[in-house]
């Protein structure tokens, strides 16, 4: 009977999270949770994380058993790319068994590392915002702590099959755990496969496996050892992003320029090939009930590859290249434009990649490479590929050790001390995946080849000029980025009857440096060998407290001040060619605070929070084709400040024992708050096109996330083990992130205010507000000790296919004709579903 009740509880709770397949672990209350009445403790799932959104590093789709705001924001809003408080992923620290999982170079939490292991990773505690955290200092966005210890996995076997029409269409998952056995051992495994011939977006295939194994041995009452290994190999065809003209011509906002027909099959040029196994060993020493000392070691390595087209001395093979679209010719050659319109709308060989044509062109491009491979007089003749599929690799390897000592002191005090060391080396290089019918590729930089009258400058490898490369060979660039992080933190907590407080401090040292493995012709002096080390010392302090107005009313306040280093992926001018970093590289400073009011009545739970965060002196770095310089440039800014403030409201009302109403509102105001200085450098020489260029960015809205979001939900929980619910969601204040160079005096040039270009250059595009409707339902049975459950969720029931959830202003722009390179947009999936059958015992 208890089991049935538990099951019901689990299923009912699960219903709250419409698109999830996850049961919720109700964590035992402890002082941390009470202390963080403001900041929810939630469980997390990575269900659709390695999904269609392009970035495989979404900070988290959060689910909460306690905080309706975080649950709704994380999941229901997540589909529209809502980010809590507008924070990027690096502001939330993710740990597994206490060890930091955020990538050291990007700061992002790589959820794709354990994609498909939902049964394992759901055992996570999420703290949103600043708070008392006992694994690390935490980020301003909070932390997610995944517990992957075998002894904490729910005992039994669980098999599930899910059908969906999102990134993948099928998922099979099996998980089994022994729980703690009499001999002190616990074992656990999980494996899954997710696959789709084609996901929601055309041309996106999906083939992912995942595996997890954990063993734990409680040696005696004081010592426990645990070991975990996991990995998630994935091969995925990616969706592209296009300008509206392409969507209109193709007749769908899910047009994907990345694929084309080959031998009657859809072939995607932009594939992901990832597999990064992770190994972890932990030792837990608990000499008594009040002391716990956890030390963990991790090692991870593997491949992170993404393929794409490259071409040399040939036409751009991308079907949506701007010159192939009718608008480019509309004025000067309307006849051609009309022809292009027809071809684009009707011929898939025009609308998509024409693979056969690429093979055809490669197969007859006879070419003689003189002095090939640096050997005088060595002439290699064959079909030089004009078009290839290359794979850009960023293969990480990382070791980390983490040790945290935690002790309950007298008089409701608690002390946590910890330290960690992490070293990550990422090997960046390119290989040739497919010569597409040609015989070889020559390893020179095509832009340098055109720009300089010197055959050595264009060489990517001076040790082997005119290097002939074939499938599998390394070419282009080859270097390591090393990042080392040493960190110490401490936290003190104290409770009284009416008040609970905590304070914490962090000290950290970060170093990163580049090690070039080839000497290239553009930067012969410093492209090879170890570059200078960039060293940063950082600190952080935080404090917060709760005042219990009554037993059911709380006021919570949190504040933090910290500095952090620029991430190494932003710090280099062009790490592919040289070790130079952007001018003005220095620490970021962050001030953040929030104040909230929380109510906890039986029939009404709610929270209202105001937050304010200032991110000072950030760096920003991109590269793109610049129309003035007629070459690839690196555009770097330092001194980028941003202020994120807003309110969060969440209400959960039990109208009766079966009906529940939820209301959630997020109102943010996230803006840039400084005028950064930009440096523009040529990618393939030391030439500086502009330095100290002022970017008038102040008060532009930060793009990438709706700044306003609201949801109203109604749910019915039947005593007969089924539930159904519906959510209506509203999104507003969505902006495209501004292209910095368009907001400079140089862009405005000699225009006067009445010139149309001024408005076009300066205006920030606001995306249309939108509304979606989601519904979910579930039912479960208990048959002879076996649990069977069915869950179904349908998102965007109204099939709104015109909902732009993101995009970007192209960095390439023409100041005289701003619309020549219009923004590219992403659209929310139309009506989509996720249905799952679970069988467990």
């Amino acid at each position: 009977m208890t089991r049935i009740l538990t099951l019901v509880l689990i299923l009912v709770t699960a219903g709250a999270f419409a698109q999830s397949d996850t049961t919720i672990v109700t964590l035992p209350p402890d002082s941390v949770q009470i202390l963080n009445a403001d900041v929810p403790v939630v469980s997390i799932t990575a269900d659709d994380l390695d999904n269609e959104l392009g970035s495989q590093n979404v900070s988290g789709i959060l689910q909460s058993s306690r905080d309706i705001f975080t649950a709704t924001a994380g999941f229901t809003f997540g589909a529209a790319r809502f980010r809590i408080r507008g924070y990027d992923s690096e502001n939330t620290l993710v740990t597994m068994n206490g060890v930091l999982m955020n990538d050291l170079e990007t700061g992002w939490a790589s959820w794709s590392l354990w994609g498909g292991l939902n049964d394992v990773t759901r055992y996570a505690q999420v703290h949103t915002g600043i708070g008392a955290t006992r694994n690390n200092f935490g980020g301003i966005g909070g932390s997610s702590d995944i517990n992957a210890r075998a002894s904490d996995m729910r005992k039994g076997i669980r098999i599930s099959y899910a059908s969906a029409n999102r990134a993948y269409r099928n998922r099979l998952m099996i998980t089994g755990s022994t729980g703690m056995m009499k001999n002190g051992w616990s074992l656990s495994f999980s494996g899954s496969r997710r696959w789709a011939e084609e996901g929601y977006v055309p041309g996106t295939s999906y083939n992912a496996y995942a595996y997890f194994f954990a063993a734990e041995h409680k040696i005696n009452t004081k010592n426990t050892f645990s070991f975990s290994a996991l990995g998630a190999p994935i091969v995925q065809g990616r969706a592209g992003i296009a300008i509206q003209e392409a969507y209109d011509l193709a007749g769908t906002n899910y047009y994907n320029p990345n694929w084309g027909w080959q031998n009657g099959k859809k072939r995607n040029a932009r594939m992901t090939f990832d597999h990064k196994p992770l190994f972890m060993a932990s030792h837990i020493y608990a000499p008594n009930d009040s002391t716990k000392w956890t030390t963990s070691l991790i090692y991870t390595f593997g491949r992170d590859g993404s393929s794409g087209m490259n071409w040399f001395d040939a036409k751009d093979p991308r079907p949506d290249y701007y010159r192939y679209l009718p608008s480019y010719n509309a004025t000067f050659d309307p006849e051609l434009a009309a022809q292009q319109t027809t071809d684009w709308s009707t011929d898939q060989n025009v609308q998509q990649i024409n693979w056969e044509q690429l093979y055809f062109a490669n197969g007859k491009n006879l070419y003689s490479v003189e002095n090939a491979d640096g050997v005088e007089g060595n002439t290699v003749t064959g079909n030089r590929s004009k078009y290839i599929i290359e794979e850009q690799r960023a293969d990480p390897s990382r070791v980390g050790v983490n040790s945290v000592y935690s002790r309950e002191l007298k008089n409701d005090q608690h002390l946590t001390l910890g330290g960690s060391f992490n070293h990550q080396k990422t090997h960046y290089f390119k290989t040739i995946d497919d010569l597409l019918g040609g015989d070889f590729w020559v390893d020179i930089d095509q832009f340098a080849d055109r720009d300089f009258n010197d055959t050595l400058i264009s060489q990517n490898d001076l040790a082997r000029p005119n290097k002939i490369v074939r499938e599998g060979d390394v070419f282009g660039w080859d270097y390591d980025i090393n990042t080392r992080l040493v960190n110490l933190f401490g936290q003190y907590e104290k409770k009284w009857n009416k008040v609970e407080v905590y304070t914490g401090i962090q000290l950290a040292q970060t170093s990163f440096w580049r090690v070039g493995k080839v000497q290239n012709g553009r930067f012969p002096d410093n492209s090879e060998g170890k570059g200078p080390s960039n060293d940063f010392f950082n600190f952080g302090v935080k404090a917060g407290g709760i005042y219990k107005v009554t037993g059911r009313n709380f006021i919570a306040v949190n504040a933090a001040l910290l500095t952090r280093p620029p991430t190494s992926n932003n710090a280099f001018l062009s790490a592919r060619t040289r070790p130079e970093t952007i001018p003005g590289l220095s620490n970021e400073t962050i001030y953040s605070g929030d104040i909230g009011y929380v109510v906890r009545f039986t029939k009404l739970k709610g929270r209202a929070t105001f937050y304010y965060t200032k991110l000072k002196n950030q760096v920003w770095s991109r590269y793109y084709y610049n129309d003035d310089a007629l070459t690839i440039v690196n555009y770097s800014m330092s001194g980028v400040d941003q202020v994120n403030m807003g309110v969060e409201l969440g209400l959960e009302a039990n109208l009766s024992s079966t009906w529940q109403l939820t209301a959630v509102y997020a109102g943010g105001d996230h803006r840039y708050s400084s005028r950064p200085k930009a440096t523009i450098t040529r990618n393939n020489s030391a030439e500086v096109f502009a330095s100290e260029r002022t970017v008038y960015w102040e008060n532009y809205r930060v793009g990438g996330s709706p700044q306003t979001a609201a949801s109203l939900g109604l749910r019915y929980n039947s005593p007969k083990y089924w539930f159904i619910g519906v959510n209506g969601n509203y999104f507003g204040n969505m902006y495209l992130d501004p292209n910095p160079d368009r907001r400079t005096q140089e862009a405005i040039g000699s225009y006067v205010e009445s010139d149309p270009q001024v408005g076009q250059l300066l205006a920030q595009e606001k995306l249309k507000d939108n509304f979606t409707l989601d519904a979910f339902a579930g039912k479960s049975w208990l048959v002879k000790g076996y649990r069977i459950a069915i869950n179904l969720s349908v998102s965007n029931i109204l099939d709104n296919q015109d909902f732009r959830i993101g995009g970007f202003e192209q960095l390439r722009y023409d100041r005289t004709e701003v619309n020549k390179f219009p923004p590219k947009y992403n659209y929310l999936y139309g009506r989509n579903y996720f249905a799952m059958l679970t069988f467990s015992f």
Partner: protein, 430 residues
């Protein structure tokens, strides 16, 4: 339950181990071929044009060899090809893919034959779809010609490769302006001339990777394709390496300054006028030059008056040298017969453009003092080292200069009798 779970767990692990995500090779699709059809020559093509443009539809082909390409940016979407019957310009839909020396078959369907300002072109050429490469590195030798010949054959030679020799950029441009205007958007005209003043236009793109380089000063040869605009020739340089304008300009000495000099007159032929590359052997009085002298293993230069010539002033002038501080002159001198007079003097000039006696006369010469010379009392045939003569009193850094060995004599008829032959050898300047 525990046992069963363990078994399940182990089974699960075993299953996981077999899981591999592998990259699958894509099958190459069957690729179409382009039939040859009828074969036309470039002359056939030109003959087909009767005043209206022709769009080819039938499968016909032309074999030709690429003579100019886009590699250095001087041409964009534009190459020239030629066969034995002539040349034609190809206008490409997309840049890239054709290189000098490519022997190609042009598959004509889709291509349009039409002139542009009298230059016959094949337009709408899609390299990926219209070109089949037969071979590479079949370099066409340019036709060596002159500006007048070129002008006379403008029509027949259009889009073919030529080499003009003995031409230079006009004085207003040579060494003054750049090949083109980098950052500009249209090509610019520059002007080549020969030594008698015939001119021809060479047109250069601002996108070439040498557009910002200054035009060469010298005279020499240049390889270009013959373009036409209306009634005028517009040459297009094939590549910067085909521009060999390094010689002296029309009317100038043909030698560029050397960094040092070491001359032992080993090539001297006995009693024959000396000819040394870049040296000047001439006279400003009389008609005699310095002659070679060979005596056993020893060879040297010798000057003397003719018995019948009367007074002579004979100059042996070194190749131009670039002065660097600390440079010293060394040589040795000897008498060819018993001493009668001091006939040898050493001078220096920075007027290095010396081509004949007239130039020598009008040049400014400074005596180089301090040399020890064979003189009264020196035994005949005995070499007297000059001892090092520092040149810094006469020159400043960066000067280009020549040293002149001046011999004067008057022949036996002269008074006083100035007939002593003087010899010099082992001239070094370093």
């Amino acid at each position: 339950m525990n046992k069963m779970n363990i078994r399940m767990v182990l089974l699960g692990i075993a299953a996981m181990v077999t899981v591999v995500a592998c990259k699958k090779e894509y099958d190459a699709p069957p690729v179409r071929t382009l039939p040859s059809g009828d074969i036309l020559t470039i002359a056939d093509l030109k003959a087909m044009y009767l005043g209206t443009s022709i769009t080819f539809e039938e499968p016909k082909s032309v074999f030709a060899t690429v003579t100019t390409d886009e590699t250095d940016g001087n041409f964009y979407k534009n190459v020239t090809v030629q066969d034995a019957t002539g040349g034609i310009t190809l206008r490409l839909i997309n840049s890239g893919g054709l290189y000098i020396g490519d022997s190609i078959r042009i598959y004509l369907p889709g291509i349009v034959l039409e002139p542009y300002n009298n230059l016959m072109q094949l337009t709408n050429v899609d390299v990926d779809n219209n070109i089949v490469k037969q071979a590479t590195q079949r370099y066409v030798q340019p036709r060596v010609t002159t500006i007048p010949d070129l002008t006379a054959n403008i029509g027949a030679w259009q889009s073919t490769l030529i080499r003009l020799e003995n031409v230079q950029f006009v004085a207003a441009e040579a060494g003054v302006t750049t090949w083109s205007t980098p950052g500009g958007t249209s090509s610019v005209d520059r002007h080549l001339e020969d030594c008698v003043g015939n001119q021809v236009v060479i047109r250069n793109s601002p996108y070439s990777n040498y557009a910002a380089d200054t035009l060469p000063v010298g005279k020499g040869s240049i390889v270009a394709s013959v373009g036409i605009f209306g009634m005028n020739i517009q040459l297009g340089a094939q590549s910067i390496s085909g521009v060999q304008l390094t010689g002296p300009r029309c009317g100038e000495s043909g030698c560029l300054p050397e960094a040092s000099l070491n001359e032992s007159f080993n090539l001297a032929v006995n009693n024959t006028d000396l000819t040394l590359e870049c040296w000047l052997n001439t006279f400003t009085l009389g008609t005699r030059k310095w002659k070679g002298g060979v005596s056993g293993p020893d060879s040297y230069a010798e000057a003397k008056p003719s018995s019948f010539d009367g007074a002579v002033e004979t100059w042996l002038i070194t190749t131009p040298i670039g002065y660097t501080p600390g440079m010293a002159l060394n040589f040795k001198s000897a008498l060819g017969s018993a001493w009668q007079h001091d006939g040898l003097s050493v001078l220096v000039t920075t007027d290095i453009n010396l081509n004949d006696g007239g130039d020598v006369s009008s040049a400014t010469w400074t005596p180089v003092t301090g040399a020890t010379l064979a003189t009264n009392g020196t035994a005949v045939g005995t070499w007297i080292p000059s001892s090092p003569i520092g040149l810094n009193p006469f020159l400043t850094a960066g000067d280009n200069f020549r040293i002149g060995f001046k011999y004067i004599g008057s022949g036996s008829a002269g008074v006083p009798n100035q007939t002593t032959p003087y010899r010099i050898d082992d001239v070094t300047i370093q």
